[in-house]
């Protein structure tokens, strides 16, 4: 390595620069992480509902789901969705008369895998948050003659969300870091893009350092947003 190229030229937006590619990669990371987070949130609400209000079988199902997904490495779940999804699609395609291997797009498999793993954490967060809503407030809603739906929309959902916000922030940080694992399926997100750049420039340290800095930046900015949101939504509960 004689003439070491200038770092700013490397990460810049010129013809030699990787800037545009890295920004696109970071965008893909955000897409995977946020869609995974949303899928997880939907699963989490259903899971918490099952754990709180479900009968014995539904509860056992939800307990099994959270126990398994919290005990199994995320990487295995990503493999399951990537290879399993592709197999399922190939089998369906064969039924429809299409021959050969049809792959599930890595982004879709990745977002689903991240969603299903984070769903277990979401479930616990929502369940804990619902438990923190004081029964008196729900009783008061009953007493005012609110029906089920109004009670859920006006009382239970906002209060649960307020208590859930700090926990949801933690889940988001985990999801963001987990999205880096989706790079193993070949999806060109931030980490995969830096791997490509590291390989072609032979500067792995510089580029993985840049990836680390970009991940730090994303997690710090989203942490700040969550902090502001937390303060906003707990205004009425704050002690003077």
């Amino acid at each position: 390595m004689s003439a070491r190229p200038d770092l700013f030229q490397l990460i810049g937006f010129g013809p030699e620069g990787w800037g545009a590619a890295l920004i696109t990669g970071a965008g893909m990371t955000l897409v995977i992480a946020s869609s995974g987070f949303l899928i997880g949130a939907v699963i989490g609400v259903l899971g918490a509902w099952a754990k709180i209000k479900g009968n014995r079988w539904v509860r056992a199902l939800a307990d099994g789901y959270t126990t398994i997904l919290r005990g199994v490495p995320d990487l295995l779940v990503i493999y399951l969705f990537y290879f399993g999804g592709s197999m399922l699609i190939t089998a369906t395609a064969r039924l429809l008369g299409v021959e050969g291997f049809v792959g599930l797009p890595g982004v879709l498999a990745g977002a689903m895998a991240v969603g299903v793993t984070s769903g277990a954490q979401h479930t616990e967060v929502f369940r804990g948050a619902f438990g923190a809503v004081s029964p008196g407030e729900i009783e008061a809603a009953h007493a005012c003659g609110m029906n089920r739906w109004v009670r859920l929309r006006r009382i239970i959902a906002p209060l649960t969300l307020r208590h859930a916000l700090p926990g949801l922030g933690n889940v988001w940080q985990v999801v963001l870091k987990e999205s880096a694992l989706v790079s193993v399926t070949g999806v060109v997100e931030l980490l995969r893009q830096t791997q490509i750049a590291a390989g072609s420039t032979r500067l792995p340290f510089d580029f993985f350092m840049i990836a680390a800095v970009l991940f730090l930046a994303i997690s710090s900015v989203s942490g700040l947003v969550l902090y502001v949101a937390e303060r906003r939504f707990s205004r009425s509960a704050r002690r003077p």
Partner: protein, 246 residues
């Protein structure tokens, strides 16, 4: 589900369990020392040290573990100084790099847990120990550490379990631990469900055992919460000192 294939897979994966355990145990064991050092730095009251520890925790908790592994495994070799140093035979090995990055990563998380445990020790207890004339190290050994460890144990147990799961990332830098073998079998046979079920069951069994061990340690460290062995002892027979705790 094909039972024969599942059994074959199970035998192949069980062969990889020792490597998974070895990775987890060495990372957790070495990481505990780094974590304790970091916690001490943060509580030292010396601003540069405390800031340094905070920065370390911020960086290692804010970036994905996989990036840290790549930085150490692929990144360090970029520098001729590293390639020519006496550490190179070690840093060239995927095993050493995996342990190193897992260790540095768990240290960041554990240091916060240990710090919380140390802060939870009531100042009165330390004061009392000082009042009876214990020297500083003895206070640490006999009063602070037992109380702090007991307090931090549940959270530390969770961290150990997530480390067991995190060893799976070592497969990406070619180490053939459980996930590595599972990925190989999946790509050879395309029988995802069986392999996932078997590998998942192995990780669940490992983590279940670990959680039992932590529970057992928790019980062993909290004799005050334990029910007295002979609950039928009449109150009059109990000494005044023991009734005071109830």
């Amino acid at each position: 589900m094909d039972i024969d294939f599942a059994f074959e897979t199970f035998m192949a994966l069980v062969g990889a369990v020792p490597l998974t355990i070895q990775l987890a145990v060495s990372a957790i064991f070495l990481g505990a020392f780094v974590a304790f050092g970091l916690a001490m730095m943060r509580l030292s009251g010396i601003l540069p040290l405390a800031l340094l520890a905070r920065f370390y925790v911020f960086v290692f908790r804010g970036t994905p573990l996989l990036v840290q592994i790549f930085l150490i495994y692929y990144g360090l070799g970029q520098f001729p100084a590293v390639r020519h140093s006496f550490l190179w035979p070690l840093l060239r090995e995927p095993y050493a790099c995996a342990v190193l990055s897992l260790m540095l990563n768990t240290a960041a998380y554990s240091s916060e847990i240990i710090r919380g445990g140390l802060l939870s020790v009531p100042p009165g207890q330390v004061e009392a120990a000082r009042a009876v004339g214990m020297p500083r190290l003895m206070i640490l050994r006999r009063v602070i550490l037992p109380l702090a460890i007991r307090q931090a144990l549940p959270a530390y147990g969770n961290e150990m379990m997530s480390m067991v799961k995190a060893t799976s990332l070592a497969s990406i830098i070619t180490l053939m631990e459980v996930t590595g073998v599972a990925a190989r079998i999946i790509s050879e046979t395309y029988r995802v469900i069986e392999v996932f079920v078997v590998a998942g069951a192995i990780y669940l069994a490992l983590n279940f055992t670990l959680s039992r061990l932590v529970l057992w340690a928790e019980r062993a460290l909290s004799p005050d919460k334990r029910r007295p062995a002979s609950a039928a002892v009449p109150i009059a027979a109990a000494t005044p000192a023991s009734t005071g705790d109830a």
